[in-house]
């Protein structure tokens, strides 16, 4: 067990300003991942009276052990990257409301009204939705029942609990292969189970193939997760062999992509059946004055660099909209 400190200086040091209930903000930004943080930077630099609302201050990047495709950084721990984002944004003294969720948004006479989980109500002229995405579930029997009891969605959080045990990783994209590489360091055996083929970057796949306690099962679909109090194994189906079989394991990490966090906004704004908020290339949505950016939108390729760029664009569009109101 390593003790190396992960000191979060920006959130402990900051005397961040509070968002006030009686102020009508030019723009409220919902979400503080790469998209929301960059929106905050651009909005404040453009002189907008802005506020940032975040359930998890930093977003998904906090759950990423190392980022190797953000321009300028060969390899950087996710939380260091997002720590740098946050410190930069906080230089502009934007009021931030942390640890609270937006539950509902209404638009009345050119004003947006936000109902928060802690009972507060906030108001603004424009709104940027940058609520990102959350892990997609397998939707197989046993997944719900054993969630947190062997079924896991965060490899860097729960990986250490499987020291010396057998673990399944479901998925074949970058995050699945990264999780397999990480967990193989401490687990006894890792099975990478993927419905189709591996879609991860070649550099990652090459690394995976050098590990001798990893077994890769392609064309294999997870059918059920079973156990008693805790997970004991999974049932899978192999298409090529047309056979069902059993993999005994103490845990399964589900790394099969993500679904957009658009639930609270579905009554207000146009979304696709998959939940993505429909935007044009200026981050406009179906509602005037309402902008969206990053993983929660129809923009293709869910990546840090893309989300942060989209966030900048949404703030610039909000700024242009506000200028027209004046």
């Amino acid at each position: 067990m390593g003790f190396e400190l992960n000191f979060d200086s920006s959130s402990l040091k900051s005397n961040t300003k509070k968002i006030e209930e009686n102020v009508i903000y030019d723009v409220l930004i919902i979400g503080a991942g790469p998209a929301g943080l960059n929106s905050a930077l651009y909005a404040t630099r453009n002189g907008l009276n802005a506020g940032l609302i975040a359930d998890k201050y930093g977003g998904q990047v906090l759950d990423t052990s190392s980022v190797e495709n953000y321009l300028g950084y060969e390899s950087i721990p996710g939380e260091d990257l997002v720590g740098a984002f946050r410190e930069h944004v906080e230089k502009y003294e934007i009021p931030i409301k942390k640890d609270s969720r937006v539950e509902k948004v209404e638009k009345k006479e050119n004003r947006f009204f936000l109902s928060m989980s802690d009972g507060t109500e906030l108001k603004s002229k424009t709104l940027i939705i940058a609520t990102g995405s959350k892990p997609r579930k397998l939707n197989v029997p046993g997944e719900e029942k054993f969630s947190g009891k062997g079924v896991a969605y965060c490899a860097i959080c729960d990986g250490p609990l499987f020291q010396g045990r057998d673990v399944v990783i479901a998925g074949g994209g970058n995050s699945a292969v990264e999780a397999a590489i990480d967990i193989a360091k401490i687990a006894n055996k890792v099975y990478l189970v993927q419905r189709s083929v591996l879609r991860a970057e070649q550099a990652l796949v090459d690394k995976l193939e050098t590990l001798n306690n990893v077994e890769i099962r392609l064309g294999t679909q997870v059918k059920e997760i079973y156990g008693e109090k805790l997970v004991k194994g999974i049932k899978v189906y192999n298409k090529v062999e047309d056979k069902e079989f059993d993999i005994k394991a103490d845990g399964i990490f589900v790394e099969i992509g993500s679904v957009p966090n658009s639930g609270p906004f579905k009554d207000l704004v146009e979304t696709l059946p998959n939940g993505e908020i429909v935007i044009d290339c200026s981050c406009n949505t179906s509602v005037p004055g309402l902008f969206a950016a990053g993983d929660v939108t129809t923009v293709p390729y869910k990546q840090i660099s893309i989300s942060s760029g989209e966030g900048a664009k949404a703030a610039l569009s909000a700024n242009a909209y506000i200028n027209k109101l004046k």
């Binding site: 067990m1 390593g2 190396e4 400190l5 200086s9 402990l12 998890k56 759950d63 609990l161």
Partner: protein, 213 residues
Amino acid sequence: MALLNDEIRTNLVEVFGKMKEEVTIAVFTKEDGCETCKDTLDFMKEIEEVGEKIKLEEYDMEKDSKKAEEFNVEMTPSIVLLDSEGKDNGIKFYGIPAGHEINSLITGIIEVSGSGEDVPSALKERIAKIKTPVDIKVFVTLGCPHCPGAVAKAHKLALENPNIRAQMIEAQTFSELSDKYNVSGVPKIIINEDNDLVGNQPIEKFLETIESL
């Protein structure tokens, strides 16, 4: 082995500069069979050094069993945060609060010193209404980025209401206890033995569970 580097030390001097009142870190260790006791004590000595208003008290689980009983300390290593009057507010850490947990330790110290963040008034009222004894255990791993958030919320509840006590528990150090509570995902929150929540839940979710007891 020093855990604080110069950069963190400088930051901590600034953070601890905000402390309103003194805080005492009471550390309980044991001579034999405690792998991480020495590291925990050394780490707390480093923390004491950077905080002008931080005092350290060292106790041995066996020799100071009266103290251990007074603060309900059951395992080692353990840390109890005492306020300026030496009072235990029910805020405890079992296992070394290193890795990401340095953040919940620091938040805890700031909160106990009286310089913490205000709870919105609607929530404050709900917390004040809790009359039954509540025990919250938050299992964490040191590599988990959203665990300190769950620990800080549990500690905040303890600070706001004397009927509530809350402990961080490092899952690998106390692996038997983790097995007993079926911990295989963190943060795992156990409220009064049989109610569990997984994940960094909002404070309202803690309250819902407590109110349904």
